[in-house]
């Protein structure tokens, strides 16, 4: 019975070798491999938790989709890295030729990656299509001031505007509504699937899509035919990797498996990464706004509720505005990486004021239970009111869960509300919210162009992006007025009036504003160049 020592050793060795057989034959861990591969081809890898809703410019108005569009589609106007000013991209010239006519002349010899020529007819097709499809998740609302598009010749397009001197129209052409697509590939009246788009190669931006696995991995190849403002990319190609979990995004950038981590790392992650010597944290001007949207039809006492009462519905919104403690959310949940927002236009933009600070709470930005109770009493609302509050767990960063747990706690602590908190994954969320599925819900906004108007027109005019059934002719007039006011001081004044009017109606409840944040390996260059007030991620400026 004595144990054969050699046999035992063999058995144990076999077990050990079996368990770690895979490890043994792998060599160095992923970090080295990734870096090596990337460096060899001069490519860079960008990681994000954002998601693509669709690559069709007519069907998306979100940061994840627009980030990819910025790499693959050309724009008539764009902004040079480091600035937010809209200047000609694939256009040779672009200017107002009369108060209501904006004329754009294209550069000669433009073409798409599939070989098709890019002409003014494609430009008209691209813009008209956004308006015609008017998808609920699309950017058609940005083109509210557009009357018509006319092709003058193969390289000249004339945009006729409803209101003259539209000061933000050049910015709109550089934004979500502005990607120029191939009319020989896209259908004129319906959206196209991502796979069909990739197959059709209707790309004429700095990159083309080489391979595409939706919300997993996108391979971008430098487009040698791009002759726009951004020039030749500083890298040999780029890969976008999508993460479901920001912890994995953080660890992968720390290990060097990806070169740059963009949106959306948590505040705790950012604070932790700042201590890591292997990576560098970059911060840029912030334009992000986080807020709660009220659906005027389906919120408590909304227009289509059984007990519809506009005054009571307003009282509910006012009470929420009085009770919510932004400072607590900013400091406790976001560790100071977000600041309290007291207007629908973030502080720092030309024309931004803070009307909610004085109108609600204690007058200094802190909550006031007394004012909330008074709002209920004045309107005859009986507490507690049940709020079905929806938030998204994967698009606005993992801390959204903590943010909305705190909002629920604050609202319920007042005794005025009973909150039913619900969450839904982003792709479904972005569709459901425009289908009146959510009475009160979270949304965040990352601006398309650096102007206060970008926080007003998309949200508070009829047929807006929110689709929350809010309309106020006085607000619409003020927004139209600021759009066409040439004098800067006068425009600032009108912008202030518009913010005050919106704050009274509380179509949305602004909560927080944040900074842009990216984390990159120490050997990565150029990240700071894309963190400007244009709020566009341009992979072409990043290299290593």
């Amino acid at each position: 019975m004595a144990m054969n020592k050699k046999a035992l050793q063999s058995a144990i060795a076999l077990a050990g070798v079996s368990a770690f057989a895979l490890t043994a034959c792998t060599g160095p861990s992923g970090g080295g491999t990734a870096s090596g591969s990337a460096a060899g081809g001069g490519t860079i890898t960008y990681g994000t938790t954002d998601k693509v809703v669709t690559l069709d410019p007519a069907g998306s108005y979100d940061a994840g989709s627009f980030m990819v569009m910025n790499q693959i589609y050309p724009f008539l106007l764009n902004s040079k890295p480091g600035t937010a000013d809209s200047t000609p991209d694939i256009a040779e010239s672009a200017s107002f030729t009369s108060p209501t006519e904006y004329t754009v002349k294209l550069k000669p010899g433009l073409k798409f990656a599939n070989g098709h020529a890019l002409t003014s007819s494609d430009v008209k097709f691209s813009i008209d299509r956004v308006v015609k499809i008017a998808d609920d998740n699309g950017p058609a609302s940005l083109l509210g001031n557009l009357a018509s598009v006319a092709v003058k010749d193969d390289s000249t397009v004339v945009f006729t505007l409803k209101a003259g001197n539209d000061q933000v129209f050049p910015g709109v052409l550089a934004a979500n509504a502005g990607p120029i697509i191939d009319e020989e590939v896209f259908p004129a009246d319906k959206l196209m699937t991502d796979d069909e788009i990739v197959k059709g190669k209707p790309f004429a931006g700095p990159y083309t899509i080489e391979s595409y696995k939706k919300n997993e991995l996108v391979g971008l190849k430098v487009n040698p035919d791009y002759q726009g403002l951004l020039g030749k990319p500083a890298n040999g190609g780029a890969t976008i990797k999508y993460y479901a979990d920001s912890n994995n995004l953080k660890l992968d950038v720390q290990q060097g498996n990806i070169d740059v981590a963009g949106r959306s790392l948590t505040a705790t992650d950012a604070a932790d990464l700042e201590k890591d010597s292997k990576v560098k944290v970059y911060k840029g001007p912030g334009g992000e706004l986080r807020y709660i949207v009220f659906n005027f039809d389906t919120m408590p006492f909304g227009a289509k509720a059984a007990d519809a009462d506009p005054a009571k519905a307003l009282a509910v919104r006012q009470a929420m505005a009085n009770v919510v403690d932004r400072d607590a959310i900013a400091s406790q949940v976001y560790k100071g990486t977000y600041l309290p927002a007291y207007s629908v236009v973030p502080d720092g933009f030309v024309g931004a004021i803070q009307p909610l600070k004085e109108m609600y709470g204690d007058g200094s930005g802190k909550p006031s239970l007394e004012k909330a109770k008074k709002a209920f009493a004045d309107a005859g609302v009986t507490a507690p009111v049940t709020i079905k509050l929806q938030y998204n767990p994967d698009h606005y960063g993992k801390s959204s869960g903590d943010e909305y747990a705190m909002i629920k706690e604050q609202l319920e602590k007042s005794g005025l509300f009973k909150v039913e908190l619900q969450s839904t994954e982003w792709v479904t969320y972005s569709k459901d919210r425009t289908a009146d599925a959510y009475p009160v819900y979270q949304l965040g906004w990352f601006p398309d162009y650096s102007d206060a108007d970008n926080y007003l027109t998309p949200f508070f005019v009829p047929g807006n992006f929110l689709k929350n059934h809010y309309e106020n002719p006085a607000v619409t007039d003020l927004i139209s007025k600021q759009l066409t006011t040439v004098d800067k001081a006068e425009r600032s004044k009108v912008l202030g009036e518009a913010q005050t009017a919106v704050a009274k109606d509380l179509s949305t409840l602004p909560l927080l504003q944040g900074a842009q944040l990216m984390v990159a390996g120490k050997d990565v260059k150029g990240v700071d160049k894309t963190l400007d007030a244009s709020f566009k991620t341009r992979l072409g400026v990043i290299s290593k």
């Binding site: 046999a7 144990i12 076999l14 861990s29 970090g31 993460y243 992968d252 994967d394 009146d436 599925a437």
Partner: protein, 363 residues
């Protein structure tokens, strides 16, 4: 029959029982019966999944009930055909399944069959890796435990087996990530390959979706090493779950066999303990393991949901979690049905292997 088990004919050394044909029936008949049993099994599973998914009503109401105004909710239900009698829907669903049509996902409007094909390969790869780990860890350690019965190593290994089985995958997964990725930096944190290699493998002309296979087919050894590095932690986390069961099973069976008369006879003739364990007690102990292996496929596939989520291994389990969050019942139903079919078919093959090894299990 009892005599056959207690005193089996032996091999040249007079020890190993020699398999003999039984009068129970032929292998062909057994395979045929087992094959035809797959269909009612799958039908029962599909039926259960279909009706269980509807215990909370139709998928649209389950996803949007209480959130969408009643008239809009009704419009959507009617458009999707969920207002028809449930048995009409059921038979229509069965008819669709026969033609390979699993429907279209509610959340991202893509054919479920396409989604299953895209992500099925990733889950298959993970399951195979995990099974290899389970066998590689469970069998040799089970042998050691049996050989050192009631001694220190045996006690240690029994505790190890219980720990393996009792530790949730998400916990062991995080522990592995923390240890091997974050602290030691030996292995990647998540995913199936580094972006550059994944790009290369997915860009192949006709990829199988099983990355190590695609890497071998394309002769990309750097990608193969990278893919395997990414596979280690998920395979360990999931594989150890089953390894604990295999370890206990091998130990029990080998101990049982080591007590047989023919083994005792060998021992008295001076055959080494090593040879007794590895040659004479090991093979008979394999049969129940093969049977259990089939059942463990279901455990591994179930565990794949947690493993894939923990390691961002984008397979069916990862998608299942995503679609559950999105309350996309059509997609969830498609994934569950596919997993059920895989389990049924795997068990069919396992039964055949068991019948080949031990003719007594045949009909």
């Amino acid at each position: 029959m009892t005599t056959l088990i207690e005193a089996p004919p032996t091999d040249g050394e007079g020890l190993l029982p020699i398999k003999k044909k039984t009068s129970g029936g032929g292998l062909g008949r057994y395979i045929l019966i087992r094959f035809f049993l797959i269909f009612p099994t799958i039908l029962i599973l599909v039926t259960m999944v279909f009706f269980l998914m509807r215990t909370t009503g139709d998928p649209i109401t389950a996803a949007l009930g209480g959130r969408l105004p009643p008239e809009q909710l009704q419009e959507r239900i009617t458009a999707a055909g969920y207002d028809r009698p449930i048995f009409v829907q059921y038979f229509e669903y069965l008819a669709q399944l026969i033609t390979g049509n699993f429907g279209t996902t509610l959340s991202d409007n893509r054919p479920v069959s396409e989604m299953l094909a895209t992500y099925g390969a990733a889950t298959l790869e993970l399951t195979i890796n995990a099974l290899l780990v389970a066998l590689a860890v469970g069998i040799p350690l089970g042998l050691v435990a049996a050989h050192r019965r009631d001694k220190g190593p045996d006690a240690g290994l029994r505790v190890f087996a219980i720990l393996c089985y009792a530790t949730p995958v998400f916990f062991s997964g995080l522990l592995f990530k923390l240890t091997f990725s974050v602290w030691l930096g030996w292995l990647p944190v998540a995913g199936r390959a580094t972006p550059a290699n994944e790009l290369a493998l997915t860009s192949l002309a006709s990829p199988t979706g099983i990355y190590w296979l695609d890497a071998v087919r394309s002769g990309n050894m750097a990608a193969l090493a990278d893919v395997m590095a990414h596979a280690v932690l998920p395979a360990l986390a999931l594989g150890l779950l089953t390894a604990g069961i295999f370890l206990r099973l091998v130990r029990t069976n080998v101990i049982g066999t080591l007590g047989k008369d023919y083994v005792e006879a060998g021992r008295s003739r001076g055959v080494s303990e090593y040879r007794l364990v590895t040659k004479h007690a090991y093979k008979p102990a394999l049969i129940p393991i093969i049977t259990v292996m089939g059942l463990q496929i279901a455990v591994l596939l179930g565990g794949a949901v947690l493993t894939e989520t923990t390691f961002e291994w984008k397979g069916l389990g990862f998608q299942l979690a995503t679609y559950l969050t999105a309350r996309d019942f059509v997609a969830v139903q498609g994934i569950v049905v596919l997993l059920a079919v895989i389990v049924a078919v795997t068990n069919f093959f396992v039964d055949i292997v068991a019948a080949l090894i031990d003719p007594r299990v045949r009909y």
